[in-house]
Symmetry: C2
Subunit: 208 residues, 2 copies
């Protein structure tokens, strides 16, 4: 039985790096032009790669799209969800919302919220990509709803409030801010959306 040296830290490094650079360009591009607007040739040209070389990293366009959505998911979690987990109760809810607005407004993706852009694009294209987008959005909505429910259990939100309803409204206002800012190229929508949610929360919270 052979007993080789313990595997050195990295076995393969070159491929992972280019793969990452591909995905980061792709996710930015997709937020602007959509997941279907993504083109293997265009990506390759912009990165100074060959079409086939880039293609080999994924094996199919669908796999590329899936990887792009996963990348966006990670970034979203890092930027919006994770920082809010340090808070509790209604403060966490407020922070989640605030983080989403900032994530959209600060152009973490140049085309605004990645998921707003692609979820309407793929809502009628059955397949793995649609499923993954759908699951991502479900996770987000459930995060809002669960947080609201927890805050309610802590008596920070009035008991007659429906957490599902509240989550829906918060998401609606946040999305609309993103939508308005994209279509009309004005940033005032973020403030309008923030005003709406603050007002709504004031009505239903028991603490400030």
């Amino acid at each position: 039985m052979k007993m080789p040296h313990p595997k050195p830290k990295v076995k393969r490094a070159r491929g992972v790096k280019t793969r990452d650079s591909i995905l980061h360009l792709a996710v930015n591009l997709a937020s602007v032009e959509g997941l279907e607007g993504l083109t293997i040739g265009k990506l390759a040209t912009k990165l100074g790669l060959s079409k086939s070389g880039l293609f080999a990293h994924f094996g199919s366009k669908e796999e590329l799209q899936l990887a792009v959505v996963e990348t966006a998911r990670t970034i979203f979690a890092e930027r919006v969800i994770k920082p809010a987990l340090q808070e509790k109760g209604v403060a966490r809810l407020r922070t989640l919302y605030q983080n989403y607005i900032v994530y959209s407004e600060a152009k973490v993706f140049p085309g605004g919220c990645f998921f707003s852009a692609v979820s309407l694009e793929f809502d009628d294209r059955p397949g793995k990509v649609r499923d993954l987008i759908m699951a991502s959005m479900k996770t987000w909505l459930e995060m809002l709803e669960g947080t609201a429910r927890a805050a309610q259990a802590m008596n920070e939100i009035k008991p007659d409030v429906d957490p599902h309803q509240l989550a829906f409204e918060m998401h609606a206002l946040a999305s609309a801010a993103n939508w308005s800012s994209r279509l009309f190229k004005d940033r005032t929508a973020f403030r309008t959306a923030r005003t709406a949610v603050l007002q709504r929360l004031e009505q239903i919270t028991t603490v400030n």
Copy 2:
């Protein structure tokens, strides 16, 4: 000087009819697959026309897209706005909202709200198509805002309410209902959105 007979009622009838049938198919298709997903060849095949014959009606794909948006605009006005004009004050506002929900839920377009589908698709593609979509949505939002303002002038809405803010919120909730119903294929979102708006209106109206 010649004095010809008065022009007969219709000079050209054949072309207009096929053009209409093209546009009605195209607007339905576009609500599902987007304006860029529209393909002249696909349209022609589905209608039993030749690609070039269909193309001749518009001269370019952009012109086709513009005509499609105009068609959608007309249908939207007919279905959502026009019937509400018989009402006044806050009743008109309620009817506008209700009509939008029904328009989305009843699948006037098979892909849900046409403008929700295409406005995010074209928000980063400068050109006449984007401008037309933008103008359409602006008209809609101003319709909501103007109606709210009029209702306020009639003392049916409390004076401290910002009509712009209210219009934004109503549109946000309506869009989110459309979005949720499309992505998750569930119809409960329409009820959730309706609940939210009714509740909101109850807070700020002075009449029932």
